[in-house]
């Protein structure tokens, strides 16, 4: 199963991108297109999740999953902060910034993970997309509290950072597309499904080719990562993912949704949170938090993390 996941074209294109970057090839996906594919992936995930919820209606499991997601996003930064301070030897600001990334989630990791879960017969419930959206921002608030910097300085957004956090482009697009998916329903989605459903996996391949290039170039460019922080960029997702799977199973979610919750908990943001942190904690080092989340945790999750979270969730689910 884990090995199968590794040989999906999606993962292979990520490897191709990484190898090209390590070999110092000039291969590059134009930025404007990479950004558009990111937008496309969020629209597609939102629409499809919303469509499924429109079909299934509001259920108890949905509320439970939402509660679990919120709790995880709010609380996961706390142990992460402690580990980053003590084991990672980071200062308060950097530890808080990194902790926020690991409490939040990665949309692309969720997308790739959902495909894997579907392929192995553990399809998560459609409402997990709503959980994904819920988990994006709370961790940022915890991170800012940990840094003791709710206020920001002269350059920080007037009217507070909350605005920047909640109206970050990717959050708005994901939530908005989810709501559109709910309103449009199956019938409204049909005419746009050729774009937002049929093309999804192919687009993910192009995006992951670029992610491979970007992650590997970042690994080579930056000297911000120490062995300690690189190790934490693997230990944190494993711990968070295991916690997510356990919480999901204990709360009574089906195995697939518990696995999706594990993937969300184990993933680290590299789109929404860095944009907010650059503004809220400008002294924090972007080389550090992007290096950890994008260049180490993302590849780890894509190749080893996702199969592991699926395995943990199904084991735990089998036990109860």
């Amino acid at each position: 199963m884990a090995v199968d996941a590794l040989f999906q074209p999606v993962v292979l294109f990520f490897l191709l991108g990484s190898l090209a970057a390590f070999a110092r090839s000039d291969l590059a996906v134009p930025e404007a297109v990479a950004k558009t594919i990111a937008l496309y992936l969020m629209m597609s995930i939102g629409l499809r999740g919303g469509g499924e919820v429109a079909h299934s209606g509001l259920t108890g499991a949905m509320l439970i999953a939402g509660g679990c997601g919120l709790a995880l996003s709010f609380l996961l930064p706390l142990p992460a902060f402690w580990a980053l301070r003590t084991l990672g030897r980071l200062d308060r600001t950097n530890a808080a910034a990194v902790a926020a990334h690991y409490g939040s989630v990665s949309v692309v990791t969720f997308a790739a993970g959902s495909e894997v879960l579907r392929a192995i017969g553990m399809a998560p419930a459609g409402f997990m997309v709503a959980v994904l959206a819920l988990m994006e921002t709370p961790a940022v608030l915890t991170g800012l509290l940990l840094a003791k910097r709710g206020q920001g300085d002269a350059l920080a957004a007037r009217g507070g950072l909350l605005h920047e956090t909640f109206f970050n482009g990717s959050v708005v697009l994901l939530v908005g597309s989810f709501i559109i998916g709910v309103i449009a329903g199956e019938k409204g989605f049909a005419p746009i499904a050729p774009v937002f459903d049929t093309l999804f996996k192919g687009m993910l391949c192009i995006f992951l080719l670029d992610m491979g290039l970007v992650a590997a170039r970042r690994l080579m460019d930056r000297r911000a990562l120490s062995l300690r922080t690189a190790a934490l960029a693997i230990a944190l997702p494993v711990a968070n993912g295991t916690l997510g799977a356990s919480l999901g199973v204990v709360a009574g979610l089906d195995a697939g949704s518990a696995a999706a919750l594990a993937i969300l908990a184990g993933s680290a943001s590299y789109i929404a949170v860095p944009a907010v942190m650059r503004l809220a904690l400008p002294e924090a080092n972007p080389g550090l938090y992007l290096g950890m989340s994008l260049a180490v945790t993302f590849p780890f999750n894509l190749t080893i993390g996702i199969p592991y979270y699926a395995w943990v969730a199904s084991q735990l689910h089998g036990m109860i």
Partner: protein
């Protein structure tokens, strides 16, 4: 021959998410008019960066305003405490303009 008058060109290189804040600070220094220019990448004390846009967080934008000596001083005073913490670059040079009243 058209006469030209000397003004100051102020350039601030800043992370894209900071640009709205730079615009506000410039306005509070009396600098209302400006142009934003794109960049591709660079190298500084904090390492190499590229405009990869996946996370717009590390893309940089050049804020450029032509203004008076006084406007320049006010903006420099407001920005200089932020240069180090926010990884900004501030450059000032002379430039000749016609219609000087448009660049005050």
């Amino acid at each position: 021959m058209t006469e030209t008058i000397i003004r100051r060109r102020v350039e601030v290189l800043a992370d894209e998410p900071l640009i709205p804040a730079i615009e506000r600070i410039a306005a509070s220094a009396g600098i209302e008019h400006y142009t934003l220019l794109p960049t591709l990448g660079g190298m500084g004390h904090s390492g190499r960066w590229r405009d990869d846009q996946i996370s717009g967080a590390t893309a940089k934008v050049m804020f450029m305003a032509v203004t008076s000596e006084e406007g320049t001083d006010r903006l420099t005073d407001l920005l200089s405490p932020l240069l180090a913490t926010h990884h900004l670059i501030l450059l000032v040079s002379n430039v000749e303009v016609i219609r000087p009243q448009r660049f005050d």
